[in-house]
């Protein structure tokens, strides 16, 4: 049963993530966290981090990760199949239409008009990741806010935008800083 659920969830994700890469993020969040509770928000944030640092698309990475966590290797395979099947179908159909009519302009205009909505969805997923980063235990309340995390965020944004540093390196730096902070706190602290 869990295998069918994994397959169907990732099939939906595969069907509706137009625009590549991050476009799958809000759908994964909705299916995996909100609907099925296969993963916590913090684990999801870790997953996006891991996906960014390893080769392969976020959706396929997420499918494997969630599949393995919930139902082992067979779960990973079921979820991955679900995730790539829509691609196989759509691409074949589009390739057929294209070789027949040599025209995709209506589709391309439709997709161009879809882009603002996709940006908004990615932004929403981004906000939830930031909330899980900034607030201790992921609870958005003033006394739970971690000033250190906001400092990392600001520094990371500066390195990305102004210094044009590689994103993987920037994330690595944030991770190392927090690890050093933790080590210092446990060894030197009261």
């Amino acid at each position: 049963m869990i295998l069918i659920q994994l397959f169907l969830s990732f099939f939906k994700i595969g069907c509706f993530s137009f625009g590549g890469g991050y476009a799958a993020m809000p759908l994964i969040q909705e299916q995996v966290i909100r609907t099925h509770h296969w993963m916590s928000m913090n684990t999801f944030a870790d997953l996006v981090t891991i996906a960014e640092m390893t080769p392969g698309p976020i959706a396929v990475n997420a499918a494997t990760f969630v599949g393995t966590q919930t139902a082992g290797i067979s779960g990973a395979i079921a979820a991955t199949l679900g995730c790539v099947l829509p691609s196989c179908i759509f691409v074949s159909v589009l390739a057929f239409i294209y070789t027949r009519y040599r025209k995709l302009s209506l589709l391309q205009h439709t997709l161009a008009g879809l882009r603002p909505a996709v940006v908004a969805m990615i932004a929403k997923a981004g906000v939830t990741i930031l909330i899980s980063a900034f607030f201790i235990e992921g609870i958005p309340a003033v006394h739970q806010v971690s000033a250190r995390m906001i400092l990392y965020f600001a520094a990371a944004l500066f390195l990305l935008r102004k210094v044009k540093m590689n994103p993987v390196l920037v994330m690595g730096l944030c991770g190392v800083c927090e690890m050093v902070f933790y080590a210092a706190q446990t060894h030197l602290g009261p």
């Binding site: 390893t54 392969g56 698309p57 790539v84 589009l94 879809l114 882009r115 908004a120 190392v176 800083c177």
Partner: protein
């Protein structure tokens, strides 16, 4: 199956396997790499056709990297080519993420690892903020009021009213298609 076709399928599988293992940073990079391999090195596809395939890959839902591999595989060897290309594209993330997933469960309880992942969450938050900023700026730069309205409305619907991503994507796509059809009827390009 004759010898040359089997040879081609093997080459196709190994190429997508290789590209998928060593491509960090997702979809748009891999289209260029597919072109290098299949147009410039193997001469299986001509340049113009590759551009059309990239358009199809980007117009289809799902990961652009997988879609790109599918279009190329299908074009070169039909359905067996499609299957080989998909396998090549998903096996690396499947193997890597299964391993990561097992390590994650084993190491997440380690306070140093969890501190590092905590810090990296701020980093990935900054990476996504930067991506959203660029994408949002592109939408605003089109100067199209309707596009901006769609972006803001989608965000509000999703963030404040918890409307599902799939519903928003379908609504935005319908509106956008209607607009594309109307403007095509009106005789001017949208």
């Amino acid at each position: 199956m004759d010898q040359t076709k089997r040879q081609k399928l093997k080459k196709l599988f190994l190429s997508t396997l290789y590209l998928s293992t060593f491509t960090f940073g997702g979809g748009y990079v891999i289209v260029t790499l597919l072109k290098n391999r299949f147009v410039d090195q193997y001469h299986w596809i001509d340049e113009e056709e590759m551009l059309d395939m990239a358009a199809i890959a980007q117009a289809s839902p799902g990961a652009v990297a997988v879609n790109g591999a599918i279009t190329v595989g299908y074009r070169i060897c039909g359905i067996p080519g499609l299957i080989m290309a998909v396998l090549g594209a998903v096996i690396p993330p499947l193997v890597i993420l299964s391993a990561v997933s097992l390590c994650y469960t084993a190491f997440i309880s380690n306070p140093y690892v969890s501190a590092m992942l905590n810090g990296m969450r701020s980093g990935i938050g900054a990476v996504i903020t930067s991506v959203v900023y660029d994408m949002g700026k592109n939408v605003v730069n089109t100067g199209d009021i309707l596009n901006m309205a769609v972006m803001i409305l989608s965000f509000c619907a999703s963030y404040f009213f918890n409307v599902s991503t799939i519903v928003i994507i379908i609504a935005a796509a319908s509106a956008s298609m209607l607009r594309a059809v109307l403007s095509a009827r009106g005789g001017k390009e949208a």
